[in-house]
C-alpha cells in the first residue's frame, strides 16, 4: 500500500474557521451600525445646518430691522434740528449775506477761520455761543424737544460732534471746539449739500483723530423755508461702538452666538468680540455676507479668525444703506449673526460620541457572543477534522463521540460508518498486497535464475555508469563476488582501453537518448524462422555500431546494448550482453582458408579443363605442321596456334585475379560492378557457358569499401552457384541498385531453384546439393561471411523449378562526382567486359 506524504494537521485551521465566523458576525453587526451612525451624523449635521442657518437669518433680519429703526429714529431726531425755522432763517440770512457781498464776507470768514483754528476765545465764542449754537445746545440737552423726542442719554454720550455749516461748508455753529472750520471739500459735506439739492448722507465707520475713536456720521442738508435749495448742512459725528453696542451686544445666545454690524467693506462697526474698525479676518467672506437681501451661508471661515466651517446669518439695513455714502451703490450696512461651530455642532458631536460608545459596547457584545457561538460550532468540526486525519492514516480506533443533536452528529455517525467500512476494505487489501509481493519476489528470483543460466555475461548499467546487476557468468568471467547486485563502475568491471571506453560511453549515451529500443530491421527474417549459423554473427544484431567487439586481455567479446525499462518515474536502464567470440574468430579464419583451398581445387580443375582444349588444339596443329608442306596451310596452322595460345593466355590472365593478393588486408575502394564482371568472367571462363545469356542492369560505377579479392571471391561463389544451377544455359540477370546508403546487387538465375526444405540450410557450412567433388558446401557460407564482414548481407529467394534470386546488400561509398567516363560504364557491355582485363 502506498502512503502519500501527509501534512501534519494544523491546529490553526480550527482557529481560522472560528475567526471567520467571528468576523462574519462582527461584520453583520458593524456594517449596519456604521451605516446607521454615519447616516444619523450626516442627517443631523444637515438639519443643524438648516435649522441654525434659518434661525441665524431670522435673527439677522430682526437685528437689521431694529438697527435700521434705530438709525431712522436718530436721523429723524437730527432732521428736527435741521428743519427748525430759526435755524433755517438764520442760514437763509447768512446765504443772502454771502451772495450779496461776497468779498467782504469771504475776508471775514478767512479771518474767523484762522482764529478758530488758533482757538482764539473770541472766535470760539462766536461759533459756540451764537444763537445757532445755543439752539444746538438746547436740542442736544433736550430743552427744545418734546418729551418723546428727547435724545436718549446713550445717544447723547455717543455724539462726539454736532455742528452746522453754511453753503460753502464753513463752520457756522458748533457744540464743541473740535469740529474743523472748512468742510466744503469733505465727502460728507458734498454728499449732503448735493449741488444745493440736498440729501441725507451717512458716512461709513472710520477713525476720527479729532475725537480719537471710530465714528460714523449723519449729515443732513438744511433746506430753505421753501425747501427749494440747501442753505447749510447739519453734521453729526457719532461713536459707532457706543451708539450700536447697546443694541447689538445684548443679543447673545449660547456662549459664542452674537450679532454684529459690518459695512459693505467688511469693517466691523459693532461686535461683542471684535473691536470696532477692524476688518473681517477672511476677505473671501465679505461677498458672501453682504448681498442686499437677508440669508444664511455655510462659510469656510467665521470672520473672527477661526478657520472652521461656520454658519453665518446676514441681513442688510435697507433704509440706512440707501443713505450710506450717498446711495445704495456707495456702500451698505449689514448684520452678521454667528456662533462658533464648536458650540454649534456640540450636540451632534455629543450624539456621535454617545453613538460611538454604544457602538463599541455593541461591538464587544457581538465579539463575545460571536466567540461563544463560533466555539460551539468549531469544536465538533475540529473533532471531525482530527478524526478524518486519523482515518486517513488508518489509525482511528475509537468511534467519534459528538452529541450536538444536529447535522454534525449525523456527519460523525457517517464518519464512524465509513471508518468501519474502510477497515474491512484495508484488511482484504493487506492480504492481496502480501500475495502480490510474494509473486514479485518469485518473479525476481526466476529472472535471476534465468539470467544466471545464460552462458554469456549480462550487465545492467544505470545513468551514472554504475553496474547494478551482473549475472553469474559475468561474475565468473570478471571475477566478481557472488552477489548479483554487487555495485561497481562499468569500466572497473570492464577494464578496456580508453578509446574503447570512449566509444562505449558514446554508445551508452545513444542508447539512453534513443527514442525506442533497438528494433529488428524490416528485411531481416524473424529469428525464430531462421536456422542460424552458430559461427555467423548473431542474427538481429543491428548494423550501425550497436554490436561491436571488445578486447579484454586475450579475450574478444562481441557485445550488444539493450534497454531495460525503469520503475515508474525513474529513467530506463541499459543492459549489456557480452559474448566471448575469441574461438569464433579463430574458427572463421580457418574456414576462410579451407574455402580458399577448396575453391582453388575447383578452379584448378576448371583451369585444367579450359587449358586442355586449346592445348590439345596446339598439340594437334603442331603435329599437323610437322607433316605439312603447303606454306599457306602452315601459315594457317601457325595462326591457329597463336590464336589458341592467346586464348590460353587470356584464360590464365583472367584467373590470376582470383587468387592473388591474399595477404592484402587493407580495405580499399572497390568498384562493385567491375568486381562482379571479373567474377563472372572467371566463372564463365572456367565452366564454358556458350548458351548462357547474361543481362546486366547496373546502377553505374558503384563503389564499396572492401578487400577486392575477397569480394570477387564472394561473387564468384554466388555466380558459380547460379551458373551451375542453370547447368550452363539460361538467362542470368545481374543488377545493382543504389538505395539510400547501400547498394543492392541482385543475381537472378533461371535454374532449377532450391527446394523449400533446403532453403533453410543453404548457408550452413558443408551443406551442398552438388555431387562429390563438385562443391565443398562452403561457397555460400564463405560468401556470406565475406559480405557481412564488409557490413552487408546476403539473402536468397527461390521458387522451385523457376530459379533463384540472390540479393546482396553492401554499404555504398558515395561517388565523389559523376564523370562522363563512369556514366559510360553501363552504356557498353563490351567495355564492361574489357575492364577487368586491365587489372
Amino acid at each position: 500500500m502506498t502512503r502519500l506524504p501527509h501534512k501534519p494537521a494544523s491546529s490553526t485551521r480550527g482557529w481560522r474557521l472560528r475567526t471567520k465566523l467571528i468576523v462574519s458576525m462582527l461584520l453583520v453587526g458593524i456594517v449596519p451600525l456604521l451605516v446607521g451612525l454615519g447616516m444619523a451624523f450626516w442627517q443631523g449635521s444637515k438639519e443643524i445646518h438648516e435649522v441654525s442657518g434659518e434661525s441665524f437669518k431670522a435673527l439677522a433680519t430682526e437685528a437689521a430691522r431694529k438697527l435700521d429703526i434705530l438709525m431712522a429714529e436718530e436721523i429723524a431726531r437730527t432732521s428736527r434740528i435741521a428743519t427748525d425755522p430759526l435755524i433755517v432763517r438764520e442760514l437763509e440770512r447768512r446765504r443772502d449775506a454771502l451772495l450779496g457781498q461776497p468779498e467782504a464776507t469771504a475776508a471775514a470768514l478767512g479771518d474767523l477761520r484762522n482764529k478758530w483754528e488758533a482757538r482764539d476765545p473770541a472766535a470760539v465764542k462766536a461759533l459756540t455761543e451764537n444763537p445757532l449754537a445755543r439752539l444746538l445746545h438746547e436740542y442736544y440737552s433736550g430743552a427744545r424737544s418734546e418729551p418723546d423726542q428727547l435724545i436718549p442719554q446713550v445717544v447723547r454720550g455717543a455724539t462726539k460732534m454736532l455742528f452746522i455749516t453754511d453753503i460753502r461748508g464753513n463752520l457756522t455753529a458748533a457744540l464743541t471746539t473740535t469740529p474743523p472750520f472748512a468742510n466744503g471739500k469733505s465727502p460728507w459735506w458734498q454728499g449732503a449739500f448735493h449741488k444745493g439739492v440736498g440729501q441725507l448722507y451717512i458716512e461709513d465707520v472710520h477713525f476720527d483723530q479729532r475725537v480719537d475713536t471710530y465714528v460714523f456720521s449723519i449729515s443732513l442738508p438744511i433746506m430753505d423755508s421753501l425747501r427749494y435749495e440747501t442753505v447749510g448742512v447739519l453734521h453729526r459725528v457719532i461713536d459707532a461702538k457706543e451708539f450700536f453696542s447697546p443694541s447689538t451686544h445684548p443679543i447673545r445666545f449660547g456662549k459664542t452666538g452674537h450679532v454684529m454690524l459690518i459695512d459693505s467693506r467688511g469693517i466691523v462697526m459693532s461686535c461683542p468680540i471684535l473691536p470696532t474698525g477692524v476688518s473681517l479676518s477672511d476677505n473671501s467672506l465679505i461677498p458672501l455676507v453682504t448681498p442686499m437681501h437677508p440669508g444664511w451661508t455655510a462659510a469656510p471661515s467665521d470672520g473672527h479668525g477661526g478657520r472652521s466651517s461656520s454658519i453665518i446669518g446676514f441681513a442688510p439695513l435697507p433704509e440706512t444703506s440707501r443713505a450710506t455714502n450717498g446711495s445704495l451703490d456707495g456702500g451698505s450696512w449689514h448684520t452678521f449673526v454667528w456662533q462658533s461651530s464648536d458650540e454649534l455642532f456640540a450636540p451632534i458631536r455629543h450624539l456621535f460620541t454617545w453613538m460611538t460608545v454604544f457602538g463599541l459596547i455593541a461591538l464587544s457584545l457581538l465579539a463575545t457572543l460571536g466567540y461563544l457561538a463560533a466555539t460551539r460550532i468549531v469544536t465538533p468540526v475540529r473533532q471531525l477534522q482530527q478524526a478524518a486525519q486519523s482515518i486517513g492514516r488508518g489509525e482511528l480506533r475509537h468511534s467519534i463521540e459528538i452529541n450536538t443533536g444536529d447535522e454534525l452528529e449525523a456527519l460523525a455517525e457517517e464518519f464512524n460508518r465509513m471508518n468501519k467500512q474502510l477497515e474491512a476494505a484495508f484488511a482484504g487489501l493487506t492480504d492481496q498486497v502480501t500475495l502480490k509481493t510474494q509473486e514479485v519476489q518469485y518473479l525476481q528470483r526466476s529472472t535471476d535464475q534465468i539470467l544466471d543460466a545464460v552462458p554469456t555475461p549480462v550487465l545492467i548499467v544505470d545513468d551514472q555508469e554504475t553496474v547494478q546487476y551482473v549475472n553469474r557468468t559475468g561474475r565468473e568471467a570478471f571475477r566478481l563476488g557472488d552477489d548479483p547486485d554487487a555495485v561497481g563502475r562499468l569500466f572497473e568491471i570492464l577494464p578496456v582501453e580508453p578509446s574503447q571506453q570512449q566509444r562505449l560511453r558514446q554508445e551508452l549515451w545513444k542508447q539512453r537518448t534513443a527514442e525506442t529500443p533497438s528494433a529488428p530491421l524490416p528485411d531481416e527474417p524473424a529469428p525464430a524462422d531462421q536456422v542460424r549459423d552458430p559461427l555467423a554473427p548473431r542474427a538481429g544484431a543491428a548494423p550501425g555500431g550497436r554490436q561491436g567487439e571488445l578486447h579484454l586481455g586475450p579475450h574478444v567479446y562481441q557485445y550488444q546494448w539493450f534497454r531495460v525499462s525503469g520503475r515508474p518515474g525513474e529513467s530506463d536502464r541499459i543492459g549489456l550482453v557480452l559474448r566471448d567470440s575469441t574461438d569464433d574468430s579463430r574458427m572463421q579464419e580457418k574456414l576462410v582458408q579451407a574455402e580458399k583451398s577448396g575453391s582453388l581445387g575447383v578452379l584448378t580443375a576448371g583451369i585444367g579443363h579450359e587449358l586442355n582444349n586449346p592445348l590439345f588444339g596446339i598439340l594437334g596443329l603442331g603435329e599437323a605442321l610437322q607433316e605439312e608442306r603447303d606454306p599457306a596451310r602452315v601459315k594457317s596452322y601457325a595462326q591457329d596456334i597463336v590464336e589458341q595460345g592467346k586464348r590460353m593466355a587470356a584464360i590464365i590472365r583472367d584467373f590470376t585475379g582470383v587468387a592473388t593478393r591474399e595477404t592484402s588486408d587493407q580495405r580499399q575502394t572497390v568498384h562493385l560492378e567491375r568486381e562482379i564482371e571479373q567474377a563472372l568472367a572467371a566463372v564463365t571462363g572456367s565452366l564454358g557457358t556458350p548458351e548462357l545469356i547474361v543481362e546486366r542492369h547496373y546502377a553505374g560505377d558503384t563503389t564499396v569499401s572492401a578487400l577486392p579479392d575477397q569480394l570477387r571471391q564472394a561473387f564468384t561463389n554466388l555466380l558459380m552457384n547460379a551458373v551451375q544451377a542453370m547447368k550452363g544455359k539460361g538467362r542470368l540477370c545481374l543488377s545493382t541498385t543504389v538505395a539510400g546508403d547501400s547498394v543492392v546487387t541482385t543475381i537472378v538465375d533461371t535454374g532449377s531453384g532450391i527446394p523449400k526444405h533446403h532453403l533453410s540450410k543453404i548457408f550452413d557450412p558443408f551443406f551442398t546439393t552438388k555431387g562429390q567433388g563438385e562443391g565443398s558446401g562452403l561457397g555460400l557460407t564463405v560468401a556470406r561471411r565475406i559480405i557481412r564482414k564488409f557490413g552487408g548481407d546476403i539473402r536468397l529467394e527461390s521458387v522451385e523449378g523457376a530459379g533463384t534470386s540472390c540479393i546482396v546488400t553492401l554499404p555504398v561509398i558515395p561517388p565523389p562526382a559523376p564523370s562522363p567516363k563512369e556514366e559510360s560504364w553501363t552504356a557498353s557491355e563490351r567495355q564492361a567486359l574489357q575492364q577487368p582485363s586491365h587489372s
Binding site: 446765504r95 423755508s225 421753501l226
Partner: protein, 197 residues
C-alpha cells in the same frame, strides 16, 4: 423697458427744449429792457403738461401692463426687490434729477396726508394752496414766494389718483395717515417752483 427708455428720452428732450427755450427767454429778457412775452404761469403749465403726460405713459403703458402680464411689479423698495418704481416715486425721482441738473426749475409732489413727512407742505402757501385745490381742483394755485431775499414763482397743480396703484399704496401703507382715497380723488399737488431773478 424699451418703451420706458424711449419715453424717458422723449421726456428729457421735451424738457430740455422747454427749459432751453425758457432759459433763453429769461436770458434775453435780462438783456432787453422789456421782458419777452411769456409768463411764468405758462411755463409752469408747459412743464406740468409734460410731467403729467410722462407719468401717465409710465403708469398706464409700463407699470400697469407689466404688472398685468406678471413680468414685474412696482414696489416702494424697488431697488432691493428688483421691481419698478411706483409712479409717484417716478415723478419724485425725475424731479430730483431735474434739480440736480442745475436748471433752477424744481418740482415735487406734496400732500396734506403724506406717507413721509418730507412730502408735507413746506410753507403756508403750499398748505393753503393744497387746501384750496381740495375744494376747487380745476385750476392751479400760483403765487410769488420768497426765501430770504430770493423770490420764486410757485405753481401748485392738483394731483389726482390716476390709477389703482396710487390709492392701493396710500390706503395700505403703514405710515399713511389717510386710508380712504378713491380713484380720481385729489391726493395732493405737484408744486413747480421757478426762481425769479
Amino acid at each position: 423697458m424699451d418703451r420706458f427708455g424711449a419715453s424717458g428720452v422723449a421726456a428729457a428732450v421735451a424738457f430740455l427744449t422747454v427749459g432751453l427755450w425758457w432759459g433763453t427767454a429769461v436770458y434775453s429778457a435780462r438783456e432787453e429792457p422789456k421782458p419777452a412775452g411769456i409768463s411764468p404761469e405758462r411755463v409752469a403749465g408747459f412743464v406740468h403738461a409734460v410731467l403729467q403726460a410722462h407719468r401717465t405713459i409710465y403708469t398706464t403703458h409700463i407699470v400697469n401692463r407689466l404688472q398685468e402680464k406678471g413680468v414685474v411689479a412696482a414696489a416702494e423698495h424697488w431697488e432691493q426687490e428688483n421691481a419698478l418704481p411706483l409712479p409717484a416715486q417716478f415723478l419724485q425721482h425725475s424731479g430730483r434729477l431735474v434739480a440736480e441738473s442745475g436748471q433752477g426749475i424744481r418740482y415735487r409732489l406734496i400732500g396734506l396726508s403724506p406717507i413721509y413727512q418730507r412730502n408735507a407742505p413746506a410753507t403756508d402757501f403750499e398748505r393753503k394752496a393744497l387746501e384750496s385745490l381740495n375744494r376747487a381742483p380745476d385750476a392751479p394755485v400760483t403765487g410769488i414766494v420768497s426765501s430770504g431775499r430770493k423770490q420764486y414763482f410757485q405753481a401748485i397743480y392738483p394731483d389726482r389718483a390716476v390709477s389703482t396703484a396710487c390709492i392701493g399704496c396710500h390706503n395700505s401703507h403703514p405710515l399713511s395717515p389717510k386710508r380712504d382715497f378713491k380713484l380720481n380723488d385729489v391726493m395732493g399737488g405737484i408744486a413747480i417752483t421757478i426762481p425769479i431773478e
